[in-house]
């Protein structure tokens, strides 16, 4: 039951992420990434993390992706530009660019190899572990006691990012 749900959500996530980078229209990429995040939220529910799942939907699929959608619509550039053909810059032509594809395949092979060396570990099934991990009260307690400094630093970071975004996006910088 859980395993089939895992494969369902995992397939949704991987397929949507793959098509984010496999097609050219940025608008479709953003919509597909939202689908991928919904699959990830399902995986978080399987991992007894309902708080993270809800945050994933609200913050990622809701706020960040809407920001991306706004920018895609604002810039109105539905097509990817054709590659630059400049004889003075041979490294930008199509041939060397394939090295990027080879590099990402090498990276994929390396990750698969690394994970195949990890011994198979069943999820910890100690009684009560699911309740302990999924408790929102426990998360809040940890954030506001042990990780208070990180939390406050994050609020400063958000403030800096907000001011930075406003300043950077002004008409005449």
């Amino acid at each position: 039951m859980d395993l089939s749900l895992f494969y369902l959500f995992g397939a949704l996530t991987v397929a949507a992420s793959f098509f984010v980078i496999a097609q050219r229209n940025p608008m479709h990429s953003v919509i597909l990434l939202i689908a991928s995040f919904i699959g990830l939220a399902g995986l978080y529910v399987l991992l007894d993390a309902p708080f993270t799942a809800v945050t994933q939907i609200i913050v990622y699929a809701g706020a960040i992706m809407v920001l991306f959608l706004f920018v895609v619509m604002l810039l109105n550039a539905p097509r990817e530009d054709p590659p630059v053909v400049d004889p003075r810059r041979p490294l930008l032509s199509a041939g060397p660019r394939r090295i990027g594809g080879v590099l990402s395949l090498v990276f994929l092979a390396e990750i698969v190899w690394a994970f195949s060396r990890v011994p198979t570990t069943a999820m910890n099934d100690a009684p009560g572990i699911g309740d302990r991990v999924s408790s929102v009260a426990a998360i809040g307690l940890e954030i506001f006691t042990t990780h208070t400094f990180a939390f406050e630093a994050t609020s400063v970071l958000i403030l800096v990012a907000m001011v930075g975004a406003v300043v950077l996006a002004r008409k005449n910088l």
């Binding site: 859980d2 395993l3 995992g10 996530t13 991987v14 992420s17 984010v20 980078i21 050219r24 940025p26 990429s29 953003v30 990434l33 991928s36 995040f37 990830l40 995986l43 978080y44 991992l47 993390a49 993270t52 945050t55 706020a63 960040i64 920001l67 991306f68 920018v71 810039l75 990817e80 530009d81 590659p83 810059r89 990027g100 594809g101 990402s104 994929l108 990750i111 698969v112 994970f115 198979t120 069943a122 999820m123 910890n124 100690a126 572990i129 991990v133 408790s135 426990a138 998360i139 940890e142 954030i143 990780h147 994050t154 800096v160 990012a161 930075g164 975004a165 406003v166 950077l168 996006a169």
Partner: protein, 100 residues
């Protein structure tokens, strides 16, 4: 019941897809989206390992990563808007004036 390895392999796949996007796409917005995919792959690892160890620390780190991702998206998109105003292009190859 899926094992820990299931989740690790899945997040490895997602991370590889994200890096492939950064390497292969010629669109600044798609590159930012690929970075989001990579951040989410790492989040999945954190939550899975946190669940395995029976602590909420993985979810807390995920929470902070999400905030940083939001800040990164806001500033990154502002820079993308400014670059688009400058060159009328989203192609990263159009912005090579700092390149030797």
């Amino acid at each position: 019941m899926p094992t820990l390895n299931h989740f690790l392999v899945l997040s490895g796949l997602l991370f590889a897809i994200g890096t492939a996007g950064v390497f292969l796409r010629r669109n600044l917005i798609t590159i930012l989206l690929s970075i989001e995919i990579m951040l989410n792959a790492v989040n999945l690892t954190f939550v899975a390992v946190g669940r395995h160890l029976g602590t909420v620390d993985g979810q807390i780190i995920t929470f902070f990563v999400m905030t940083v991702a939001a800040a990164e998206a806001a500033v990154g998109l502002a820079i993308v808007i400014q670059l688009f105003r400058l060159r009328e292009s989203l192609n990263p190859d159009a912005f090579t004036s700092l390149k030797w």
